[in-house]
């Protein structure tokens, strides 16, 4: 028992063990909720709610009314769960701490400036979310959720993601790749 608790408290698990946990979560989502895991869709629901409050006529379109309705969906709740689940995990390992720009490898590659990190994460977020829209999901909603059903879309997405990820990392890292 003590050994298990000690393992749970480790900052990093074996990716195989963490992977089994995610796999079980994927099964339960289908079995209990008849739904798939996803993350990018929740941001679309959320921005619909915000958009309809700020600029109702602009956001009164087919997409925010029907495709990804501007409301609290199970995906939004799931995203909230991910946030608190990770917080719980960080509590068990004592790594929960509000902080900025704490990644050593990031600073080595991009430099220590905070504005640069915030700009790149902001732009990265836009790219990732738009790409998820085109592809029909992100790493959770398409790669994992589609992949576990043996959906061809998932494997096309994963192939594209790794191909361009490798090229992009090569370009950014240059000689340090």
């Amino acid at each position: 028992m003590k050994a298990i608790w000690n393992y749970i408290r480790r900052e990093e698990w074996s990716p195989y063990i963490a992977g089994v946990l995610l796999g079980v979560v994927g099964i339960l989502a289908v079995w209990i909720n008849n739904s798939l895991l996803g993350a990018s869709g929740a941001f679309e629901n959320l921005v619909g709610i915000i958009g309809k409050a700020i600029a109702p006529s602009l956001f009164d379109n087919m997409y925010f009314n029907f495709v990804m309705p501007a409301e609290i969906t199970t995906n939004v709740i799931l995203l909230l769960g991910i946030f608190f689940g990770s917080m719980l995990a960080a509590l068990t390992s004592g790594t929960l701490k509000f902080r900025v720009n704490d990644n050593e490898q990031w600073k080595k590659i991009y430099g220590p400036q905070l504005w640069k990190r915030w700009l790149l994460l902001f732009v990265g977020g836009i790219i990732l979310e738009y790409a998820s829209g085109i592809a029909g999901g992100c790493t959770s909603g398409l790669a994992i959720s589609g992949g576990m059903l043996l959906d061809p879309a998932a494997f096309l997405f994963i192939a594209g993601m790794f191909a361009s990820g490798i090229v992009t990392a090569k370009i950014i890292y240059g000689k340090r790749y």
Binding site: G19, L22, N33, A39, L78, I82, S86, D102, L150
Partner: protein, 184 residues
């Protein structure tokens, strides 16, 4: 209401797994693209093998019916993935791991990260009509899964995927497919 509670509990476990796998960290994600730390790949493929084995077994026993799988439209899935990979290698997160990274206290993810995702979602939702129907019209196979599309035995397909994954894990852990890195 029940589905909300289930979704929240599943989200907790999902976030817990992402955190413990190290996916809330920039270097963990970018290093898979440099082949210097393959944890992300091991994590994803283990989850896929476990989930597909469980789900196809449950379906075979008649205990579940699958929800509609994400639609396959070859060009969109692939091009979306290509653009996604650029963002992921550049920023070192994705929508799910950003939420998880926000949860362990990274203000970089909570503020510019979340704002970026929301902005991207707004741009996508506002340009949806002009972009998406055209992309989805190309090579669209609908909501299909590989065993049905190619008339394969689901059991053999899952078994093949499991063996491929085990082979890959063996090559990474034992046969030196993971590169040495001077940093971290």
């Amino acid at each position: 209401m029940t589905s909300f509670i289930v979704a929240f509990v599943l989200g907790l476990a999902f976030g817990f797994a992402l955190n413990k796998a190290g996916l809330t960290k920039y270097h963990k994600i970018v290093n898979v693209f440099r082949f210097t730390d393959m944890a992300v790949l091991k994590f994803m493929m283990t989850a896929l093998v476990v989930a597909m084995a469980g789900l196809y077994a449950l379906r075979g026993l008649g205990l579940v019916t699958f929800p509609a799988p994400p639609a396959t439209y070859v060009v969109g899935n692939l091009v979306g993935g290509l653009i996604f990979g650029v963002g992921m290698a550049m920023a070192g997160f994705c929508p799910g791991t950003a939420a998880a990274g926000a949860g362990d206290g990274k203000l970089d993810y909570i503020i510019p990260g979340v704002l970026g995702f929301l902005t991207g979602a707004a741009i996508y939702g506002l340009t949806y009509q002009q972009v998406q129907p055209a992309i989805m019209a190309i090579a669209n196979y609908g909501n299909v899964v590989i065993p049905d599309l190619w008339n394969l035995s689901p059991f053999l397909t899952v078994l093949l995927f499991a063996f491929m994954s085990l082979f890959l894990f063996y090559m990474i852990d034992r046969a030196g497919w993971q590169r040495k890195s001077s940093d971290q």
